[in-house]
């Protein structure tokens, strides 16, 4: 399947005019492109769901595409928006303990995600990064993180909030 800019642009233009056959090919091409896009950013188990959500967004928001302009920057903007939205949802979701019986696949994506995370943490202030590591990654309580980092509890909360906000901004500007 050809997922080049020119091919997708042509299919999208025909789809806007109501060509269902072109639209099927177009969505299949988008699916491939999106799978690759998210593979570097998400855990493998989340990719399919996110690709489907993004395809629905592409469908619902296709009127916002200007056929006079390149297609892939538009698709990338839609994909990035859905990705950031997914990160926010994940951040708000209650964490549950993993079942010990779960199988373990390749750790390549986990390592890639950790590298990305480390890269982001390196770009924020050290006092923010340290409490984010202690609380959000290490699982310590605010009080424990305060004792370990030497920061007051309110300061730990503020630093976590500001650090996460800064990291989100870095992700959005990527």
């Amino acid at each position: 399947m050809n997922v080049s800019e020119a091919h997708l642009h042509q299919l999208m233009t025909r789809s806007l005019a109501g060509d269902a056959a072109a639209y099927r090919l177009f969505l299949s091409g988008c699916q491939m492109w999106l799978t690759r896009f998210y593979a570097r950013r998400m855990a493998p188990s989340q990719i399919d769901d996110l690709v489907q959500e993004t395809l629905i967004s592409v469908h619902n928001k296709r009127a916002s595409y200007d056929p006079a302009r390149p297609f892939l920057p538009w698709l990338a903007a839609i994909a990035r928006y859905r990705w950031i939205d997914q990160l926010r949802k994940t951040g708000r979701a209650k964490e549950v303990e993993l079942d010990d019986t779960l199988g373990v696949d390749s750790e390549e994506d986990v390592i890639a995600a950790k590298l990305s995370l480390d890269c982001l943490l390196d770009q924020i202030k050290p006092e923010q990064a340290s409490v984010i590591r202690l609380v959000k990654i290490g699982g310590l309580s605010i009080a424990e993180a305060a004792a370990k980092s030497g920061q007051s509890e309110p300061l730990v909360k503020v630093n976590i909030h500001r650090g996460l906000k800064r990291m989100a901004a870095l992700v959005e500007s990527e």
């Binding site: 639209y23 395809l55 916002s64 595409y65 056929p67 903007a77």
Partner: protein
Amino acid sequence: MNTQNLIESLAADLQPIKPIQPRNGISIVLATACVVALIVIAIFGLRHDLRAGAPNPIVIVRGGLLILLGLATSFAVTRAARPAVGQGQNGWGWALAAALMLPLAAVLIYCSHIVNAEPFVKGEMDFAYGPYCLGISSASAVLIGAVQTLWLRRGAPTDLHRAGWLVGLAAGSFGTFAYSLHCPSNSIYYVGLFYGLAVGLCAVIGRFVVPRLIKW
């Protein structure tokens, strides 16, 4: 549902669709701003110097800056409706900087006691008009902002907070312009304080209200 089934159902749902046009977004906002200005004039009346066809210079300056800011931010809103990675959208910042000249000029004149500025700021700084200014400007902006938000919902803004600021600034600028056609004050202090407050208030309201309405 697997992805192939989803693609089939989306293809079955396909209808021809016209891409959204930025000029429509601008036209709708300008038409609404004109209607709002006419309503303000009909209810509160037109300034006497405008009625006489000889406006005070400050009326032209403040009106021009408000229209410039409203147009620049409205264009930025229409660009935000059609997203693309790598697309710069910072032109409206220059218009905002230009509009900030009014409050800045007021502060400079106040601080430096420029004697020659006296005729320009002759209009009395009447705080009694302040609440009217804020109320009428904000109410006008709500109508304009509502129409702009409705139009923006058809698009795909990817930075909702910035879109909220922009809608607030655009609506606030045009709403305050509508009020300025009635506003009897010629004082740069008044314009700097209350017009700045009105536009700023609308921008803050836009920042907090609009993202909830355009989230997709």
